[in-house]
Amino acid sequence: MLQTAFGLFLQTVLLIGLAPLVQGLVKKIKARLQNRIGPPLLQSYYEIAKDLRKQAVISQHASWFTRYAPYIVWSCIVTAGLIVPSFFADSPLGFAGDVLMVIYLFGTARIFTALAALDSGSAFGGMGSSREMAIGAIIEPALLLAVLGVCLAGKTTVLSQLALQVAGQSWDFIDPAYGLAVLAMLIVVMAETGRIPVDNPDTHLELTMIHEAMLLEYSGRYLGLMMWAAEVKQLVVLNLFISLFFPWGIAGGLAEAGLAVSLLLYLLKLALLAATLAVVETLYAKVRLFKVPPLLSSSMALSVLVIILRIVM
């Protein structure tokens, strides 16, 4: 009991504490790849701290929904993060739900963000939420299919068991189906974290935004919470990627030996993934909005191939 409580505490702190650093790291690497110095590594912390201290200005046309939505979104994302293993497989809320739960918590957060964007009636919010829901309707099945390929091999949807199984198989796990699944998942990761080629997190061009357009009416602590939630979500998606595809070295539970090595390996994997995101963002331009569905469909096609391979082989 005590151990579960400790695990819960540790993972929560890790999630909400590490998420801004991952964001900062991606930004820094991106800047260096473009010959820029870039913002300080800890800039995201400063921004969240600043926003949380500030008073929020809310549109007079907005209802209570606008004020409550950030808390709901933040909680949904952090709860999802407690189901996905980080550097120990026995995730604190692992008993409460499996990977499907994670996907639906993401979906809930998405719906609340989109509704809040519609609430104040601004044109950009409407545009952002319409785009987010249209693309979300394709991201969700794409994520589900990508995860399903791994679940089929492990014959379970419980993430801690999946992670330990994959880790236990060591290098034997790498086969063509695995390669395809990694690619399928990578596309979904780019989309779910709102990055180029799907969305551009750094743009100031309101008309091109998807996720940021939904936050334009927010300010102060509400904006801080929403930005923080987005960063935590990015970390959760990366955690999911790591535990499904590169869990090697993961410790079983908090009581087991090798926890320190596991943590170090985990941080290393996170850094590598952050670098991958930065490289992809630098190499590609944003695709035309109507070419996002084909991009995600290609991820789905890969996932279907993985599933067929898993069943046949």
Partner: protein, 503 residues
């Protein structure tokens, strides 16, 4: 060179039709002048291209005692639409039969019957309350909605309100409202001596400073009938091309930024910054201000700086070529630019669009070659033209023009290094005053200025037809048919200036 024709106002349409050869020759500028104190009339001036390669000027007098109106030319020459609305706003002369006579320059709550460019307008009225712009819903239908954008934007850019009528993501119609920060520069110049006017004219806009100063200086020199020393002419070419260079490279980077292509955007930003720092080293000003004045150039550039400029240009070209190759080889980037924001040739011709926007749509026009000034007729350069009129063509056109500009700079530097000479003369204006046009091709197209001096050799009227003026309506026509997230890219491919309208 310039054929002048005067016509009674009742016959304006027929005369304009004849001078423009039924709209085939573009209307380059149209403005009014309050000459009541001179001859009791308001006078309309219309500048057309002429068939022999020069210009024809059509004038028409409106007697101040008669109804203050003239027949609208818009249905005949679509390019006249904005000019006529502006004349209506600022002079209170009504173009009868104009299909869309809404305010252009003056927004609410500007009082009615208050016309700033009339001579009896001396002080701005108290204007209280907030700006409200009335927008009747332009497009009706199921699923059609309006997206208002601006005038305050997220980036550090100038104010402009864009109203999109959309079905889903598809733009059906775009109504831009501009002129939010009109400064009354033309009005404020009236009564000034020529040598003091340069400071304000140069600041009409940041990124066309050289071109505006050059147009003004050439108009003043034409009135004085003075030939500017050869060395000054070459220096002017050098400055004008340096301005084009940093503009075009910056614009190429902005197009990359418009699609989130970070490598192109940051590399071009670096090169633009290099050029602007060199501008400062050369002239003491990043925008090359304070150099071109009526009569020549204020400061000579020689010796060390010329060698430095040569090595800068020699290093820039391969560097820029590398960036262009990165852009060319990125399929995702090209895919965003191709077939986006097409400006058809006929539309460009009807609106008398100028500069890279016109040349990318297949209109072979460049004032440096067609109406040579400074020493452009003694220099060798090509005028690139492309056909498709999409974002991609406007991008590659600028890339080609960067190469041509570098060639021109080399030729100018070669002359400046080998020949010595004066670079400024005094201007003496005729006692009776006079008027003249002056023009130059900026990075956005031709900036055409008109200067009229009174008998005291002070400015009686100054008119600025900036390159952005005929091109803005073209942006509104290039957007429909595209999706709204592509609009920033389309807008950046035209890269028009708001300040150039707010003169």
């Amino acid at each position: 060179m310039m054929k002048v024709k005067d016509t009674p106002v009742a016959g304006l349409r027929a005369a304009a039709n004849a001078v423009s050869k039924s709209g085939r020759l573009p209307l380059r500028a149209m403005f009014a002048n309050d000459e009541r104190s001179l001859n009791g009339n308001y006078v309309l001036y219309l500048l057309f291209e002429a068939e022999d390669g020069g210009f024809s000027l059509l004038t028409s007098r409106i007697d101040a005692r008669q109804p203050l109106e003239f027949p609208s030319l818009t249905t005949l020459l679509p390019a006249a639409a904005w000019y006529e609305r502006e004349i209506h706003d600022l002079f209170g002369l009504k173009p009868t039969g104009h299909p869309d006579l809404q305010p252009l320059v003056l927004h609410e709550p500007w009082p009615a019957d208050c016309f700033p460019l009339r001579k009896d307008f001396t002080a701005a009225p108290e204007v209280g309350g907030s700006i409200s712009v009335k927008h009747p819903v332009a497009v009706h239908g199921e699923g059609v909605f309006e997206v208002p954008v601006g005038p305050i934007h997220a980036g550090i850019i100038e104010p402009g309100h864009f109203r999109f009528s959309q079905a889903g993501e598809n733009v059906i119609r775009l109504d831009p409202t501009l002129f939010y920060t009109h400064r009354g520069i033309e009005k404020s110049l009236e009564g000034l001596p020529v040598e003091r006017a340069i400071y304000r004219i140069e600041r009409t806009c940041g990124v066309c400073s050289v071109s505006h100063a050059l147009s003004f200086s050439q108009a003043a020199e034409a009135i004085a009938g003075t030939e500017v020393p050869l060395r000054a002419q070459y220096l002017r070419v050098l400055l004008a091309e340096l301005e084009r260079l940093y503009n075009h490279i910056g614009d190429v980077g902005n197009i990359c930024a418009g699609v989130g292509f970070a490598v192109g955007a940051s590399q071009a930003a670096r090169q633009k910054e290099t050029l602007m720092r060199f501008n400062e080293e050369l002239t003491g000003n990043r925008f090359l201000r304070g150099m071109i004045v009526p009569g020549g150039v204020t400061t000579d550039i020689g010796g060390e700086l010329i060698r430095h400029a040569s090595s800068l240009i020699n290093a820039l070209l391969p560097d820029f070529k590398d960036v262009v190759e990165i852009m060319e080889s990125n399929a995702g980037f090209i895919d965003r630019c191709r077939q986006t924001g097409v400006l058809p040739r006929q539309v460009a011709a009807d609106l008398a669009v100028v500069g890279p926007a016109a040349r990318a749509s297949g209109i072979d026009a460049d004032f440096r070659r067609d109406h040579p000034y400074a020493v452009y007729d003694q220099l060798e350069f090509k005028v690139p033209v492309r056909r498709h009129g999409d974002v991609e063509d406007r991008l590659w056109l600028r890339v080609s023009e960067v190469r041509e500009s570098c060639e021109l700079i080399r030729q100018a530097l070669a002359f400046l290094a080998s020949q010595k000479g004066e670079c400024r003369t005094e201007l003496t204006f005729p006692a009776a005053g006079g008027s003249s046009f002056g023009w130059s091709e900026s990075a956005r197209g031709a900036n055409i200025h008109w200067l009229m001096l009174d008998a005291n050799r002070r400015i009686y009227r100054y008119a600025i037809r900036s390159a952005s003026y005929p091109n803005w309506p073209a942006v509104a026509l290039a957007a429909p048919g595209n999706i709204i997230p592509d609009f920033p890219l389309i807008n950046k491919s035209f890269e028009l200036c708001y300040a150039c309208l707010d003169r």
